[in-house]
Amino acid sequence: MPENTPDSPRPEHVTLFASCMVDQLAPAVGESTVDILEYLGITVDFLDDQTCCGQPAFNSGFRSETLPVATRFIELFEQVEGPIVVPSGSCAAMVRNFYGDLFRSDENMTNRAERVGERLYELSEFISRFFGTDAIKGTLADTATYHKCCHLLREIGVDEEPLEILSNVDGLQMTPLDRADVCCGFGGAFSVKMPDISSAILDEKLDNIEANGSNMVIAADTGCVYQMQGGLRRRGSSVQVVHIAEVLAKSISNSSVLGKS
């Protein structure tokens, strides 16, 4: 876990790690993350050379293919100081919790990985840690529920914070999701390698989502967002699954528009 305490000075500058999925599949989530950070008064730097933390290959067991990619990640982010923010609990967990295992035969790399990992925060973790869960005062008239993504919840340890942040969005009606902390079945390559099992787990999640009745499911990891959205689309459901960054950015933009009028 990063060592900063909640009352340590608020960062004025951060570096964004988009994650490969956000970068190429969901850039709007990345832009929203920048919007939120700028709203909080932070300048955001983006390292153009970034690609991936290596998690997909690592989770599939191909560590020799992961090593150069993870090393590249560390070398890149060693070039900047200060906090690094990623809108994904899963990528944060890879660097913070699993790089140790990946680099276990290389003490130097293990230490360097730890150094970078200490500065890496998932977005909602970063907001609540340095700015408080009430820092974002946006407006969004809609109904929503929240799914607790596994790695953010159990590897990073962020549980209620995103819900507290969302509770400060004016007009957003949140209804608790039954079994919110049960996996959606994504699991990266698992979702492709064992689609039948992945989908059986997803089905239970989608039943709970449909029973919830909200227009929107909010989640903090793009992989889970696509797993649930892909499944809901296949069911013909109109429920939208949205990344928390997009919800917050939209609520901020709504507020500023309202404020100007």
């Binding site: 970034q50 599939s60 596994c150 064992m194």
Partner: protein, 479 residues
């Protein structure tokens, strides 16, 4: 029990369409899982207890030789015999030889996963000895000729009607289904006679206490306790890891075991056995034998990356928490230990070559790690085994990854080693898949994404990367 780990996918597929079994599997979540959460919530120092439990097990496993010797010495001091079995065949032979030497006609068994490893009940029966399971769940499983479905609830997948058909000889289709109490009474009636004629018992061991040479059984039905007192010979079988140093440790371990298993604060019966009947005692067996079995555990012990799995106290909490177990069921895992703990110990104990699907069948959600009373980091070990099957094992036969997989990940690595390639790869995939997409989503995609689109729509790569968008944005801000 012969491992059938190669059947994982087909067994899993069968379960996933079996509504009745899926309904039963719901109970492990709504009953056991929720019960554990409540019990943990009501226990002030729950996290402290878990840490203590982990420390006890870490310490014991690190000094296993010492404590096993101490245990054996003390069991013998108490008048019992100890046999170290290198594998299940040796353990089985010891029990069979003993039964024949003592001219045993009927053996009653209480619940024991180690005896499942030994396939002991069937071996006794094959040798002409009556062998009856007395744990209700195990009894049902024995009658149906199956193997346990769950570590602590072996017949959890059976409906009441199926149980009635097994227990009630007069039950015919259409009869009202008896309730749980009636079913238990039927089993009780059948088992009483067996208890009366049994001259030998085989029980498992929840914890063996090294300092006192005693074994502990945790049950809810009491048949386990009766098994240790009625027959003239009592044989307890245990895996060599089921040991703790002291009675003090037992207090910690019982608290976390029982809460994690069923959500109870204490089970109906906690039985401690200190060897056979002493000369001044009126009850108890004439002989007590403790069989301590290795059966691959030294492999786990010698394996630095997998050793922590020996900390397992077989509470079943990881099964109850596991979204995969609740969909594929216990039989898919193909050997004695189902669920997340099975997915890490079975490949090492029975061979990774055939069992590669077990560690692969996980979303790595971490619910097992979270639920484990001794905090075993199961996801980390699943990843370790995936590494071994992909490329890491020194045994070529265990490296079961396909050429296609290896090629995919090599291509992935090349694509991730430079930003330009990363962008080009993404653009190419968009170009290639776009004709198949509607409104940014694909209903069908070629391999390797076809697995995904078999059940879910797949998102098309975005028309521009975040990098491109942010660079546009900063230019706009500057102008």
């Amino acid at each position: 029990m012969k491992p059938l780990t190669t059947d994982f996918r087909s067994k899993a597929a069968e379960t996933m369409v079996d509504e009745q079994v899926l309904q039963s599997l719901e109970h492990v979540y709504t009953g056991f899982f929720k019960g554990r959460l409540e019990a943990a919530g009501d226990t002030d120092n729950w996290e402290e207890l878990r840490d203590k439990g982990k420390a006890i097990k870490d310490h014991t496993i690190a000094h296993l030789d010492y404590y096993l010797e101490q245990l054996a010495d003390n069991v013998e001091k108490n008048g019992g015999s100890v046999f170290f079995a290198a594998d299940s065949a040796e353990a089985r032979k010891y029990v069979l030889d003993l039964a024949h030497a003592r001219k045993i006609k009927t053996v009653i068994k209480s619940k024991s996963m180690v005896s499942e490893e030994m396939a002991l009940a069937q071996a006794l029966i094959d040798d002409g000895i009556e062998a009856v399971e007395t744990d209700l769940g195990e009894y049902i499983i024995q009658l149906s000729g199956e193997t346990p479905y769950h570590l602590i609830a072996p017949a959890v997948h059976k409906s009441r009607k199926e149980v009635a058909e097994l227990l009630d000889d007069n039950y015919v289709e259409g009869d009202p289904v008896p309730d749980a109490t009636e079913l238990t009474m039927m089993a009780r009636e059948k088992l009483r006679g067996v208890f009366e004629r049994a001259d030998m018992s085989v029980t498992g061991v929840n914890f063996a206490v090294a300092e006192s040479g005693s074994i502990t059984l945790v049950t809810n039905e009491g048949n386990g306790r009766m098994s240790t007192t009625v027959p003239r010979v009592h044989v307890a079988v245990m895996g060599m890891e089921k040991i703790i140093p002291s009675i003090q440790d037992l207090s910690t371990m019982l608290r976390i075991l029982i809460r994690s298993a069923t959500g109870q604060r204490i089970s109906s019966y906690v039985t401690m056995v200190n060897g056979p009947r002493k000369s001044d005692e009126e009850e108890g067996p004439e002989e007590f034998h403790l069989v301590i079995m290795d059966n691959g555990r030294q492999k786990l012990l010698a394996d630095e990356q997998m050793r922590e799995s020996l900390n397992c106290i077989r509470c079943g909490a990881c099964l109850n928490a596991c979204p995969v177990y609740r969909k594929v069921g216990g039989h898919a895992y193909g050997w004695v230990y189902p669920g997340p703990i099975g997915a890490i110990v079975t490949p090492v104990l029975t061979g990774l070559k055939d069992a590669g699907n077990l560690p692969a069948a996980s979303s790595l959600c971490g619910a097992c790690h979270d639920a484990c009373p001794v905090k075993i980091n199961i996801p980390r070990m699943l990843l370790e085994l995936r590494y071994r099957t992909a490329e890491g094992s020194t045994d070529k036969a265990e490296r079961t990854s396909s050429v296609r997989e290896r090629t995919v990940w090599k291509a992935w690595r090349i694509g991730m080693m430079g930003r330009k390639r990363f962008d080009i790869g993404a653009r190419l995939s968009r170009l290639f898949l776009r004709p198949l997409a509607r409104k940014g989503w694909l209903k069908k995609a070629p391999p390797p994404i076809s697995g995904w689109t078999s059940t879910r729509d797949f998102p098309l790569v975005s028309s521009s990367s975040l990098k491109a968008r942010l660079s546009k944005r900063s230019k706009k801000a500057k102008s």
